[in-house]
């Protein structure tokens, strides 16, 4: 059976910050997922910026 297109997409854009949201998740799980991903991503972006500016 063919792979799901979203799985392909995730593999292709591994540097993007994908989150799966499911109807079976509890509200807390969704909050945790999104919160942690945003924090991680913000940290990642700042790192990149610092690298570009030769600050690190």
């Amino acid at each position: 059976m063919q792979a799901s297109a979203y799985q392909d997409l995730k593999a292709l854009l591994s540097h993007h910050n994908f989150i799966d949201i499911d109807a079976n998740q509890t509200p807390d799980q969704v909050v945790n997922d999104i919160e942690q991903n945003i924090i991680r991503q913000m940290a990642f972006m700042t790192m990149e910026k610092r690298k570009k500016l030769n600050l690190s």
């Binding site: 994908f18 109807a23 969704v30």
Partner: protein, 402 residues
Amino acid sequence: MMMPLNQFLTELHQRAVKDGIAYCFLHDVLRHSRLDEATRSQPQIVISNQDVPKLLSHISDMDGIHIIDLNCNYDGYSFAVYGIRGRDELKTKRFTIRTKLCWSGAEFSFIENVIDRAQLFEQDSLQINIAHPMDQTIISFFYSFLNTGTMQKSIWPYWREVVSSMTDTAEKRFTKIFGKTHGLMLSELIKDGNKSEVYTKINLWRKHFFRQAWQKDGVSMLLQNLRFAFFHVKRFIVTDKQYIAFYGVDGAGKTTAVFDIYDHLKAYRDTVEIRHLKPSLISPKAPDKGRVQNNPHAHSKRNTVASITKIVFYFIIYWADRFCLTTRKRLSLYDRFMPDMYVDMKRYRLHPKSEKFLKFALKYLPQPLLSIIMNVDLRLRMSGRKSFLSRSQLCRLRPIKT
């Protein structure tokens, strides 16, 4: 009541002879209406996928039963067979109906289609209910609207004839299935009203029925969770120029989620905006929430050059939006982002040959802060919204199993 195939067929035949009209087989049609209650007293069978052609050939051999239409429900394992009384009566009608098959565009090769879809959703067997002939009329009539929003012209006089000939039972069956207000209205409309009236009325109800389906398969729960999450999370989003992208199949609730979150964040900060797929070069348009595209896959695909040009154009405006166009800081909520093109190339009319180029372009696309993929049960969405896709495309659009 469960029974083996042979017994089922003989019982069906007896019923058909006794009542003078054939019964239909239904499974899961309008499971969100009150159909379950209406058909609970009728017999049911479970047969394996291999037996489907056998069953159909048996039925077509029976006296008094003719298969005039076969309807595949697109959730993998359900189908309905409509039969009507007397071969002679239908001799003239039958062929016109047959040649102009059918509700949802599925042809007679649909048996394969049913089995295909059953395999797609890993179903080994079909569960079949027999419904009252009036239910068959009502449901197939209504369901064709729900599925396609249109109805075949040649079928209309037939349904009308059936409904008006069974005046007493019609109202009862209608009210049993659709409730008092809707049922009475519908039966009256079919008897007296003209076609366009029925048309508009049922199109109005489509929304109502889809909303019910949403509540059942948890989309509304998902939306609630997202709303809740963004209420808590908004303080983490620094007021920089950022994107949040939403992905998902049609009807997963992307647009609703985007509008909900927009309302939330708007109360907290001014610089939020909604975008659909691509950044607009001038100021963003006023969002149109009510617009529904019935069949986005209907257009033919572009040639390779045009597809590549489109990709390049999108790529440029994404970067232009990121850097040059506005210096104002804002948070853009994207209802579909450019990588969605890769998921469903047919929708964006891209030539398959341009896939490599698209992959290349996507790698260097500006990165959103967050990409949210909304997973919902595809079976239900198929029956309503994606009835126009081929099997391989359906396979690709499956939600990810976690």
